[in-house]
């Protein structure tokens, strides 16, 4: 009679079990293996010597913050793009031509010129900003906050241009917009030089 090998005893299957039912010799061996297995099952458990929860929790909270930041960055990025696009469309469609056309008195003429100047300054600042702002600004809260402000202003400007006249309001909005762009440029300039400094240090 061919007995089961150790390997067959360890890895039991239906055929092996059939043999075991008929063979006392192999059954005894199988019982010894079962005894070893029982002892293995009874091995002591170990207690974690340190509480890892604080670091696990910290990692989880950091992960959540990172996630939050990423989604707020995405939102800011969206606003940044839409804001640039809107402002560009206002500038390109020659809004300032409309400004002159809507002015018919001397007083209005002076104000219209001022608005015109503001639009040019906005255009210039916007170009500067565009050339500077890169990926490194994506996580900058202040930059993101200001671009959102810019977007709100653009929406207001668009509404103002839907109605004729109202030069005073236009003047006010373009001035506010100019201030925002100056601030944005300052942030991106700082960031830009920090990044260049970093690069210089690395070299």
């Amino acid at each position: 009679m061919m007995h089961l090998t150790d390997e067959q005893l360890i890895a039991r299957d239906d055929v092996n079990d059939l043999h075991l039912a008929e063979c006392e010799h192999c059954r005894l061996k199988a019982e010894k293996l079962a005894g070893i297995r029982q002892q293995l099952q009874k091995l002591p458990t170990h207690k974690l010597p340190v509480d890892l929860w604080p670091s696990v929790k910290q990692a989880e909270l950091t992960e959540r913050r990172k996630h939050q930041l990423e989604s707020s960055e995405k939102r800011a990025k969206f606003w940044q793009i839409s804001s640039f696009a809107l402002a560009a469309s206002l500038l390109v469609t020659g809004v300032w031509v409309g400004v002159f056309q809507s002015s018919n008195s001397q007083v209005d003429g002076g104000l219209a010129e001022q608005v015109n100047l503001l639009i040019d300054q906005n255009k210039e600042l916007q170009l500067q900003l565009k050339s500077r702002s890169g990926r490194e600004l994506e996580g900058n809260f202040e930059f993101n906050r200001l671009t959102q402000e810019l977007d709100k202003l653009d929406a207001r400007l668009q509404r103002v241009y839907m109605q004729p006249g109202n030069l005073i309001e236009k003047n006010k909005l373009w001035s506010m917009r100019k201030i925002l762009l100056v601030e944005l440029n300052l942030i991106s300039k700082d960031r830009h030089s920090i990044e260049s400094d970093k690069k210089a240090i690395r070299i």
Binding site: A11, K32, G35, R37, T45, W53, E60
Partner: protein, 192 residues
């Protein structure tokens, strides 16, 4: 909270649900319930307390991160245990601690004398004997004989075949028997 019942402990479904919703208290309860079991399993395989602690930390960070993907029809403890097993195997694989049997070794393997005497009954310190096995032998022994994974599952964890697991297991038994016969002998062939 955690006791010797290890992975056989079950948490109420409400706790799992709360954890999936990101509630920190529920996540902590999961950690408190299974961290000792996770540590025990990792330590049994790798035998290095600091490495086992690293494994446990990484496992629970992973659990927190991916709990939303846990399908509730499966056993939650089993899900964590699988992550612990995989993580431990990956760690020791990365550290090149594993000496894996090759095909040549697989073919010349067959014995009939392993279970003729009750050699293990005479051995008081099975735990320290396990410490003298190769990491792959110990890992397969622990995963198959204690944790109840199939050879197929173990083969997958090692990115090896089912027969790799089978062969490694019988080699582990042979090594254990040698150690039981000669308790002073340091280790069997092919060990690190």
């Amino acid at each position: 909270m955690a006791d010797s019942k290890g992975f056989s402990q079950q948490l109420p479904k409400a706790v799992i649900k709360a954890a999936k919703n990101g509630e920190i208290d529920a996540l902590e309860l999961i950690y408190r319930t299974y961290s000792d079991a996770a540590y025990t399993l990792a330590l049994r395989i790798c035998r290095e307390p600091s490495l086992a602690q690293d494994v446990v930390q990484d496992v629970f960070i992973k659990v927190m991160k991916s709990i939303h993907s846990f399908r509730e029809e499966g056993a939650f403890a089993g899900w964590i245990r699988r992550i612990v097993s995989n993580e431990t195997i990956n760690r020791i694989r990365r550290q090149n601690h594993l000496q894996l049997v090759n095909d040549e070794q697989i073919s010349n393997l067959a014995s009939e004398s392993l279970f003729e005497q009750e050699w293990l009954m005479a051995t008081r310190d099975l735990d320290s004997m396990l410490g003298k096995l190769t990491e792959s032998a110990r890992a397969v022994l622990v995963l198959h004989e204690i944790e109840g994974y199939s050879h197929k599952e173990i083969g997958d964890m090692f990115e090896k075949s089912e027969s790799f697991s089978k062969v490694t297991l019988s080699r582990a038994y042979k090594a254990l028997k040698k150690l039981a016969d000669k308790p002073s002998s340091k280790i069997v062939s092919g060990n690190k």
